[in-house]
């Protein structure tokens, strides 16, 4: 059984438990064990890097250090924001020796800083995709809109995705599951992110435009890989509908949930019951 390091972050233990449940259930089915970093802490999120640069690097660095101490070679980080903070920290510490020295001093540990950090799409491409032909029992059939959000492929100078304005990685996975990934222009548009709490009407507008574009182009579901995106597109549906001045019932699912469904797992195993917008796809019918 392949063992990989795992950093869930706060969202996966709270508002996006279903993301956690679905990634664990598909990993298990694929013979992969995800081992949590012992005693992991907050990645610093938006708050830290807006207020204190050193802290914003030190918090993720502690997690990287703990992962190194646990002898993890690869670390799976499903939350796009956590992933971004961890990858940016690794990048910055590799570029900046004096910062590395300061952080090592704080941690009382000299980081090797060479752990391979995988976001959910990279994890799926490397470990799930090769087995997908065998694992898919109930292929999807709908048109779906893959929504990458802002953090999965940015910043480009670090992520180096050749198609960062129009990424295709999730689209290719969804096609493997039998779905048709539509060509649409909002793949990497901002959903409103943290304004969810402070200025919900802005999220209503920004997420509303994303949802409208997906619906108008015939998508039957929006597929995401970020807890923030999910909560804005799903939980903020009332704000979205008030901006759009119409009802929209398109469901928003995590790419890991889509895989779970295609593997023939039940909607409950995939955690679909935790969504605000009910998920009705052909695979959830029978």
């Amino acid at each position: 059984m392949t063992k990989l390091g795992f950093y869930p972050g706060c969202s996966l233990t709270g508002s996006s438990r279903e993301y956690n449940e679905s990634i664990l259930v598909i990993s298990k089915a694929a013979g992969i064990e995800l081992v949590e970093i012992p005693d992991w802490n907050c990645c610093g999120a938006t708050a830290a890097h807006n207020l204190n640069h050193e802290l914003s690097v030190s918090l993720p660095a502690r997690n990287l250090a703990l992962a190194e101490l646990a002898e993890m070679e690869e670390l799976v980080v499903p939350c796009a924001a956590c992933y971004n903070r961890l990858v940016m920290t690794q990048h910055e510490l590799n570029e900046n020796e004096s910062l590395l020295a300061t952080v090592s001093e704080k941690l009382q540990y000299k980081l090797k800083n060479d752990i391979k950090i995988l976001n959910v799409v990279q994890f799926l491409e490397k470990y799930i995709l090769p087995q997908l032909d065998e694992l898919v029992k109930k292929p999807l059939s709908e048109d779906v809109a893959c929504y990458y959000g802002c953090l999965l492929v940015r910043p480009n100078k670090v992520m180096k995705d050749a198609r960062f304005e129009d990424p295709m990685s999730m689209d290719l996975i969804m096609q493997k599951l039998g779905a048709k990934a539509i060509d649409w222009p909002f793949k990497t548009e901002c959903c409103g992110a943290g304004f969810s709490v402070s200025k919900t009407e802005i999220v209503g507008e920004l997420s509303g435009r994303i949802v409208r574009s997906a619906v108008d182009r015939g998508a039957k579901a929006i597929v995401v890989a970020c807890p923030m995106c999910h909560s804005n597109l799903d939980m903020r549906r009332p704000a979205i509908e008030s901006y759009l001045k119409r009802k929209v019932d398109i469901p928003v699912i995590y790419i890991t949930q889509a895989i779970a469904l295609a593997m023939g797992l039940t909607p409950k195993q995939a955690g679909l019951q935790r969504h605000f917008v009910p998920v009705n796809l052909s695979v959830t019918q029978n």
Partner: protein
């Protein structure tokens, strides 16, 4: 005992800001063999040179060291001054205190000490310098012009009109270049074809110009005045003498859906084709990659319909060797394609086009006969957005430079659109309006004020398609900086000017330098803008950097003048820095044993055999002989020679060792 003069230059403050020039002169004056030393603010100026000349005469100097800038910059200047004072110019050396010392170090005692050391080594070298005489080589008074756009056309006509022979080589089937694709030209809006085509005809008819179209430079050997160029004339599959240019073949060719290069993919051409009706020469070529006969072995329709039997399917590429004295490189530029713009749809939206494509839409000879119609459905766009600086001044796109021509042509495009579609709306997103040039700013103002083009200062972050419209998301950074969204029917990218594909390879073939963006480098950014670092090779037009027509034509005439200056001489003086095989008294005659390792190592094929004969004519020994006309003084043979029988005049082993020893024996 030598009598060497040392002259330390301050180079304004370039050297004196970090080096104590007075001290260098003082220490140099005490070196063994130095008879005189001094420092001066500008040694290269007239008073500076006068000091050197006076001291040569007054002190009877037999060697001079000028400690100043790089010898690349002023060695000829100072050697000429020495020569005027009666000293052999090759007894003058330069110590490079600027590039090698003052520019790269901070002010300190160590910096001054390094300057002293540099001077010391050169003093030791000069002690071993010998008087040399320049080598005379003949000049072949034929110029090779590479590229038949407006730059190559202008250079060819100027050189030809000065009475010299020109061979103009163009890789496409017709000359004319990008200028022939343009609709109207700024800032006068005169028709590009109307001013260009007469010049194209003039080239074809000029008795001094040999035109080779569909041809490329294969190889270039030799040196200034004496180049040997090999030209590949690609097979046109046509007997040009028999072809009358009737065009019947092009109308009957069944392969009709090949995107036309001339129309930037907005129209089609056939496999046997003339790029455009006004082409020079107006005779077709067969594009083998798209021809049914060459690809599938069947068709030959053109051969059947040709009334003069001019089609030659078995024609092969021909290699032509030319002797030329000078080369003008005028290979032009290209523009970034829409597929390089991820944020504007990776080229997937047919109505997002480049400025060059817009030229074809606006041109009377274009696919829409000059009506502005969008490529997707042929409708007349009601709203057009022009995006300036698409790629240019954008380090993220790898093009931090300004493409220089886009501000003007974007204003022109918007103007042409407003003139042709009166009810249309046009928007220009720009960073800055750079309209420096005679009547240029007035032109952009006219677009804004008279033609009511809406100029928005800001960038466009994204273009996407929705319900048949292109949604342009940008920002207006002036007055309240607000996001702007425009539903456009067509978007025109003023995409960055880039070097032509293959530029790097061509530069390497000619041994000329090129910059990080593959534009060819001039020898000096200010004072030698048309020369390259290789003597006898000149630049004209946008192969050096993006530039507009007036500037291109000026530079082409400048390059032509340089060629005419070169050709005004019957022979050239070359630096006598060449390798020499030693000779000694009998019975040895030379230490050369005739192994000819040097000949295999020589990159210029400059080494041949020489037979040493006795008085009766019997061959005593075969030794290597360097042809001074071909030798470029690279020194490779010197390093290869096992018996140390070759030395490089001006840079002998003795001179080099004495420089090194000067440093070691401090």
């Amino acid at each position: 005992m030598s009598k060497i003069g040392v002259f330390i230059c301050h180079c304004g403050e370039n050297i004196s800001a970090t080096v104590d020039c007075g001290k260098v002169a003082e220490v140099a004056g005490k070196l063994e063999g130095v008879a005189y030393s001094t420092d001066y603010k500008y040694m290269c100026s007239d008073p500076g040179q006068t000091i050197i000349k006076q001291m040569i005469k007054e002190k009877g100097l037999d060697g001079v060291v000028v400690a100043a800038c790089s010898p690349r910059m002023h060695e000829p200047t100072f050697r000429k001054a020495c020569s005027e004072a009666g000293l052999n110019p090759y007894l003058c050396e330069m110590a490079n205190l600027r590039e090698h010392c003052s520019w790269v170090h901070d002010k300190s005692d160590a910096t001054t000490q390094k300057a002293i050391d540099i001077v010391r080594t050169l003093v030791e070298k000069v002690k071993h310098n010998k008087p040399l005489s320049t080598i005379k080589v003949p000049v072949t008074k034929t110029a090779l012009v590479i590229g038949g756009g407006i730059a190559g056309i202008q250079a060819s006509l100027d050189i030809a009109n000065a009475g010299h022979q020109v061979v103009l080589v163009e890789k496409e089937p017709s000359i004319g270049g990008h200028m022939s694709q343009l609709s109207e030209t700024f800032p006068t809006l005169d028709c590009s074809q109307c001013i260009l085509t007469p010049r194209m005809v003039e080239v074809a008819q000029h008795p001094n110009i040999t035109l080779m179209t569909y041809a490329e430079l294969e190889k270039l050997d030799g040196f200034i005045g004496n180049f040997k160029a090999t030209i590949r004339k690609k097979a046109k599959s046509l007997d040009e003498k028999l072809c009358t240019g009737c065009g019947l073949c092009t109308t009957k060719c069944p392969t009709k859906k090949i995107p036309s290069e001339f129309n930037e993919g907005l129209g089609y051409r056939t496999a046997i084709y003339v790029p455009f009706p006004q082409a020079v020469p107006n005779k077709p070529v067969i594009d083998k990659a798209n021809c049914s006969y060459y690809q599938k072995g069947k068709c030959k329709v053109c051969e059947k319909v040709c009334p003069t039997g001019a089609i030659r399917f078995d024609q092969e590429d021909e290699l032509v060797e030319l002797e030329v004295g000078a080369v003008v490189v005028a290979t032009g530029f290209n523009v970034m394609t829409t597929s390089e713009f991820s944020e504007y749809g990776y080229g997937k939206y047919p109505d997002v086009i480049t400025g060059l494509q817009f030229e074809r839409l606006a041109s009377a000879s274009g696919p829409t006969l000059g009506e502005i119609r969008r490529p997707s459905d042929g409708k007349i766009p009601e709203k057009i957005v022009f995006i300036a600086c698409a790629g240019s001044r954008d380090p993220a796109k790898g093009k931090p430079y300004c493409s220089k021509i886009c501000c003007m042509y974007t204003a022109k495009h918007a103007m042409l659109y407003q003139h042709k579609v009166h009810h249309g709306e046009s928007y220009v997103f720009y960073m800055d309006i750079r309209a420096a040039g005679k009547n240029y700013d007035e032109f952009t103002r006219r677009a804004i004020v008279e033609d009511k083009v809406n100029y928005l200062r800001g960038r466009v972050s994204k273009v996407y398609e929705e319900n048949g419209k292109l949604i342009v998301k940008g920002v207006d950074t002036l007055l309240n900086a607000k996001p702007v969204e425009i539903e456009a029917d067509m978007v025109v990218l003023a995409s960055a000017g880039v070097a032509n594909p293959g530029s790097e390879e061509l530069a390497q073939k000619m041994h000329i330098s090129y910059d990080a963006y593959n534009f060819f480098s001039e020898a000096h950014p200010k004072l030698k803008p048309v020369e390259t670092n290789t003597a006898g090779i000149y630049l004209a037009g946008a192969c050096q950097a993006p530039k507009d027509i007036p500037e291109t034509v000026s530079q082409a005439s400048g390059a032509a003048a340089k060629v005419a200056i070169l050709f005004s001489q019957n022979e050239l003086s070359r630096e006598p820095v060449v390798a020499v095989v030693n000779r000694s008294a009998p019975p040895l005659y030379s230490t050369c044993v005739g192994c000819f390792m040097c000949a295999t190592a020589c990159p210029y094929n400059a080494i041949g055999e020489e037979e040493i004969k006795d008085r009766k004519g019997n061959v005593i020994k075969k030794v290597a002989k360097v042809n001074p006309g071909l030798c470029q003084g690279c020194g490779t043979c010197v390093a290869f020679c096992r018996s140390k029988s070759i030395d490089l005049d001006g840079y002998t082993n003795e001179q080099m060792y004495s420089e090194v020893m000067a440093l070691l024996n401090e």
